[in-house]
Symmetry: C2
Subunit: 248 residues, 2 copies
């Protein structure tokens, strides 16, 4: 798929290209997700997923803080601050990271172990670190564009919620509490970020940049599943010192 | 393996602990290397290895430049500059990167394609990026310590040279030109860096830091092989747009 348009795209065409990237590269197509969402994994494999994905969840507000620190305009910073609050919670606790820990609790993983990231795959940490650094170092517009995978998340979240509740007796509504608020939060975030990208990607170079940024972000998500598949599905080669179900 | 000593180690004990990390975590133990060095891969799999490994080779002098930029002392910078020259070459060309491209040439890969990194696995790029950022952001002593995997490289290089020449009819002395100079260069570099680390890791916190840095670097190398194994050996799931032998 050629991601580099030869001449300046209209607003509508740019949006269409961004959505095409999701159709081709978003991680809902990854074989690990197909197994996860259709009840074909065992509890240890779901634990490995939740434990590794914690690294990603925990890095999101750090990524957003790095992005916010680069925004000169207070109204845009205000918009971005809401994302951090959604993940970090408020005075009364809550927030996406704590909800994710309810999932790992429900799966029987020790909180200290999860939060230490000690058992996570190096590949997970490298991909997550790559995302944080991308947002810190690339043009601000590209950093905003890399968040646009949220365009595609409502479908995967709905599929995951119904598929995992139906497929696993160790999964309950309560342990899945992370996902439901994300449906509305992601929608609100993406409405804003997509308008911002379409408004500001007004040169060919900037259009190349935002398309490449979204493509990059798809790699960040995809490669985390490659690593999970390799270590916990087939051929099940776990790197030294990483999580082994029932065997830490 | 507990990498965090409880009390300050003697110089000899610190060196022993560093060498133990190599014995336990260095990538000579990875199953991909066992296949590579015993003639058990096909040409496409060796191409995939060389193409991905190019990303690592090409990043080494960038990593060294980032490290050098953080050194306040000109005599230590001078020492480090030699490493960059070894990889980037001099007025008459040469250097490790060009020697690596002779290997990819010899394997029938197009130079532009290799150098574009377009076909490389995202996991390779994330691991390599993780190393570059580690060296840029962590304490200088840890950055130096992360280079100490060179302690262990002479064995793997010797094994690779003899094993690959014997195992593959598409590998010649000329295409393997990268490796021979590395035997002496790595020895010289490591003599210096090891003394520097042993001289300067004189608090418990610094000793923890250098041991963790070397452990981290082993993950950088190991996870690149995990990704190659996953995509090109078993189960051979290649991420979107990445290199496919005979099928670009």
């Amino acid at each position: 798929m050629n991601l580099r348009p030869g001449s300046l795209l209209s607003r509508g065409d740019l949006e269409r290209r961004l959505r095409e990237i999701g159709e081709n590269y978003y991680h809902d197509k990854h074989p690990f997700h197909r197994l996860l969402h259709t009840g074909q994994l065992d509890k240890g494999q779901v634990q490995a997923w939740a434990l590794n994905r914690y690294c990603y969840q925990a890095a999101i507000p750090v990524k957003d803080a790095r992005l916010m620190a680069r925004i000169p305009d207070h109204t845009l910073r205000r918009e971005w601050r809401q994302r951090i609050a959604d993940h970090d919670g408020g005075e009364d606790g809550g927030g996406g990271i704590e909800r994710w820990l309810k999932l790992t609790d429900g799966l029987g993983l020790e909180r200290d172990y999860v939060m230490s990231r000690e058992g996570a795959l190096p590949a997970t940490k490298f991909a997550v670190g790559g995302y944080v650094h991308f947002v810190s170092e690339m043009p601000l517009l590209d950093a905003v564009a890399s968040s646009l995978t949220e365009i595609f998340s409502p479908v995967i979240i709905a599929e995951r919620m119904s598929g995992m509740l139906a497929g696993y007796d160790f999964i309950t509504e309560e342990t899945m509490a992370y996902f439901k608020p994300r449906l509305t939060q992601a929608r609100r975030d993406v409405d804003f970020a997509l308008q911002y990208v379409l408004d500001n990607a007004n040169t060919l170079e900037r259009q190349h940049g935002v398309l490449a940024a979204l493509r990059f972000k798809c790699d960040v998500l995809w490669s985390q599943l490659d690593a999970l598949y390799f270590s916990y599905v087939d051929p099940r080669i776990v790197p030294p010192d990483c999580f082994v179900a029932n065997g830490r």
